[in-house]
């Protein structure tokens, strides 16, 4: 399992490969294997028993949220220059 920091051939290299860092350990003892597998099964059992809603309902809710808040979204609809401290107002005249 390669650590993110060791992908020196990858253009998406996060930090230079000259940085020596400990790799994450991936060795498992046999009893850890059982524990790990058991935990996986428990996790999956729990996930399988979760309540889910339909994508159509979820999508409708997301759309509603966007719609309700669209008017107050400065980056979406734009707000007047006078209200936006980052947008420069009339140029200053330096005397």
């Amino acid at each position: 399992m390669s650590s993110k920091l060791h992908s020196s051939n990858n253009i998406n290299q996060r930090i230079p490969s000259s940085c020596e860092l400990p790799r994450m350990s991936s060795k498992l003892h046999s009893s850890n294997n059982i524990n790990h597998a058991r935990r996986m099964v428990q996790q999956l059992r729990m996930e399988a028993s979760r309540e889910r809603i339909k994508v159509s309902k979820a999508s409708a809710d997301l759309m509603n949220y966007c719609h309700e808040h669209a008017r107050t979204d400065p980056l979406l609809v734009g707000i007047p220059t006078s209200d936006n401290p980052f947008k420069d107002k009339k140029p200053c005249i330096i005397l």
């Binding site: 997301l62 400065p74 980052f86």
Partner: protein, 395 residues
């Protein structure tokens, strides 16, 4: 699977043998139990005798995974972009660079806004952490950390402190002083200790607790005052690169994403992994909750950003284009959640229509890859940090 190498969270009498020792907090049939490590090993061997072999467990794993896929599939009656066809398209955006923050001597790796909507903190590869006034471009505070690659920084909710960490495997909190002459580095306090680099950090709703993600494959919740580990989160099988807390109205959960291509949602109190999403084809660099808290987006090295709905428990949108081939490093939503800003390694920021799935705009300006971007707390501006040593504020 990573090895937990920091101290166990609790010490006390084992539920099984009553000996006082460091306890492992695990769950059996969703019941939390606290056994000492010896009893956990014994239990594992007993499990073997009952006929539960590694193979049978693996088989059950596969069956459950298939069942999960089926269940999720049953509820996919329609796609998000289809439902969104009747929504009005986003009008042309007029977002431009309004400020360029120069001052870092090397790649800017992270930034965060203060709740006052004007200040921000940024950290860079050369170990410097700078607090800026976004309106005036004033550098209000500067701290030099002894380590390089400060990959994570966060502003405290009160605005009185910042947290930062990186290659030093620690996350420290630095109180901000009004006295400009005071040496801030002297007041720096180490809070989090990991066994590999710290990739992300965030205060919870108060200055008192800090959540961190690390290259050691875990996330952890710390008490700032005492430095004590309050809860640790195990489940990722590779470096965790990003985390985001759910918006306060929706409760105590957070999402994390990492090099194992998985995005996991966690319960902060129990440490349990509630949901897991695996659809990316490469490392997940960034995760961010949708403003309502019912969904989250992720950015990945596979050049796509994806949108996951938590109640439908599945991916509902993929933001990609054939012309985009470089990895996405950071994402954030606009205030209403309609726009998704994503920073890429090809130096651009793409703006996506979250509902319809198409790209609305491209923001050019940076001269190297974007490392992080964040929308301001009131939604008026977007700040991006880049490997070109600058930050830009867009509005």
């Amino acid at each position: 699977m990573c090895d937990q190498t920091f101290l166990a969270a609790t010490f006390g009498p084992c539920d099984n043998c009553s000996k006082a020792s460091p306890l492992m907090n695990i769950y059996l049939k969703n019941e939390p139990i606290n056994y000492c490590s010896f009893c956990v090993e014994m239990m594992a061997c007993q499990g073997l005798q009952k006929g539960e072999t590694l193979t049978s467990l693996k088989k059950e794993s596969e069956t459950l995974k298939k069942k999960l896929e089926e269940e999720r599939g049953k509820l996919t009656d329609v796609e998000l972009h289809q439902v969104a066809e009747k929504v009005e398209a986003v009008a042309a955006l007029s977002i431009k660079t309004r400020r360029v923050l120069k001052g870092h001597g090397n790649k800017v790796l992270c930034m965060d806004w203060c709740k006052d909507k004007r200040r921000l903190v940024s950290s860079s590869q050369d170990g410097k952490v700078i607090v800026w006034d976004g309106f005036t471009l004033n550098k209000e505070h500067g701290v030099t950390l002894p380590c390089t690659w400060v990959m994570a920084c966060a502003y405290a909710p009160s605005g009185c402190a910042v947290a930062c960490g990186g290659l030093d495997n620690k996350c420290s909190v630095v109180p901000l002083s009004l006295d400009r002459t005071e040496n801030l580095a002297a007041k720096k306090k180490s809070v989090a200790m990991h066994t590999n680099y710290v990739s992300g950090c965030s205060f919870t709703n108060s200055d008192m607790q800090l959540l961190t993600s690390s290259g050691d494959g875990t996330c952890a919740l710390w008490d700032v005052e005492s430095g004590q580990l309050l809860q640790s989160f195990h489940g990722h099988t590779a470096d965790v690169l990003s985390l985001d807390l759910a918006p306060s109205e929706t409760g105590n959960t957070f999402v994390s994403g990492g090099c194992d291509m998985k995005a996991n949602v966690w319960d902060m109190r129990s440490g349990q992994n509630i949901q897991s999403f695996e659809s990316h084809e490469s490392d997940i660099n960034c995760v961010k909750y949708y403003p309502s808290g019912d969904a989250f987006a992720s950015a990945s090295d596979d050049a796509t950003c994806r949108f996951y709905d938590l109640r439908a428990d599945r991916e509902v949108a993929v933001y990609q284009k054939d012309s985009i081939i470089f990895g996405a490093s950071s994402v954030d939503f606009s205030l209403s959640g309609r726009l998704l800003f994503a920073g890429y390694n090809d130096y651009t920021i793409n703006v996506w229509d979250v509902l319809k799935g198409n790209r609305v705009s491209v923001l050019f300006g940076h001269e190297n890859r974007i490392s992080r971007l964040r929308v301001s707390p009131d939604g008026t501006a977007l700040c991006s940090a880049s490997w070109d040593n600058t930050l830009r504020i867009w509005a």
